[in-house]
């Protein structure tokens, strides 16, 4: 199956793109996807913690099972509003 990976903020800058397509074995979970991302982009997630994952714009756990054409977003720490 193939999912669309969306990245934001420093992840987008590091990747040099805001989204990329990723092929995964059938039955892959979010945790499997993260391992695949780390193999393909070893430095992408370095030091980014906590990292949340959203599938089709809903936050999910690592055990969440992915489906073909899912939109998977890597969500680094947010900082909306003002101040730090």
């Amino acid at each position: 199956m193939e999912v669309r990976l969306r990245v934001f903020a420093m992840l987008r800058e590091r990747l040099g793109a805001s989204n990329v397509s990723l092929a995964l074995p059938e039955g892959s979970t979010v945790s499997d996807l993260l391992k695949a991302v780390e193999r393909r982009y070893p430095r992408l997630l370095k030091g980014v913690s906590p990292l949340l994952i959203a599938v089709n714009a809903e936050y999910v756990e690592g055990s969440f099972p992915l489906s073909d054409r899912d939109e998977v977003a890597l969500v680094p720490p947010v900082s909306g509003g003002v101040g730090r």
């Binding site: 934001f8 903020a9 959203a54 714009a57 947010v78 900082s79 909306g80 509003g81 730090r84």
Partner: protein, 144 residues
């Protein structure tokens, strides 16, 4: 009203939208661009969002406010893109018959924006830039 937009925000219009003759008070929070962070001079800011999802989460925040404080006259507007110093990045306006609820609800919403609403801020300094919350200060030479 939930708004995530690249256009400049109009705090007065947003506040006017929540005001009503049934409410004795309106609490408004304006977030503006600060000119320094930890002593370093900020030149400009840049906001980025996972659009669609950010709005969805903000709708959920509004729902929480309704349930917790019985407040349903609430507006949240967040600006995206590059902002100059002093420009308004955030407007949260809450009207309520009782002022304590309006203050509590407004403060809650501003705090929630630091939790899981997918909006990010980059501070641009004279000699570097940093994505707030996710990176330690970074100079151009150390960019990955």
């Amino acid at each position: 009203m939930i708004l995530v937009t690249r256009d400049p925000l109009d705090p007065e219009a947003i506040t006017a939208e929540v005001r009503s003759e049934a409410c004795g008070g309106v609490v408004t929070f304006l977030g503006t661009t600060r000119n320094e962070t930890d002593g370093r001079r900020v030149v400009s800011l840049e906001y980025e969002a996972y659009e669609g999802m950010a709005e969805k989460i903000l709708e959920r925040v509004a729902q929480e406010v309704r349930e917790r404080w019985g407040v349903d006259r609430l507006a949240i507007a967040h600006r995206l893109g590059r902002l100059e110093l002093g420009e308004v990045s955030l407007v949260v306006a809450v009207a309520s018959p009782h002022r304590a609820e309006a203050f509590a609800a407004c403060q809650y919403v501003v705090g929630r924006l630091k939790q899981d609403v997918p909006i990010w801020k980059k501070e641009v300094f004279e000699d570097g830039e940093v994505w707030v919350g996710a990176e330690t200060s970074r100079h151009p030479s150390t960019v990955v």
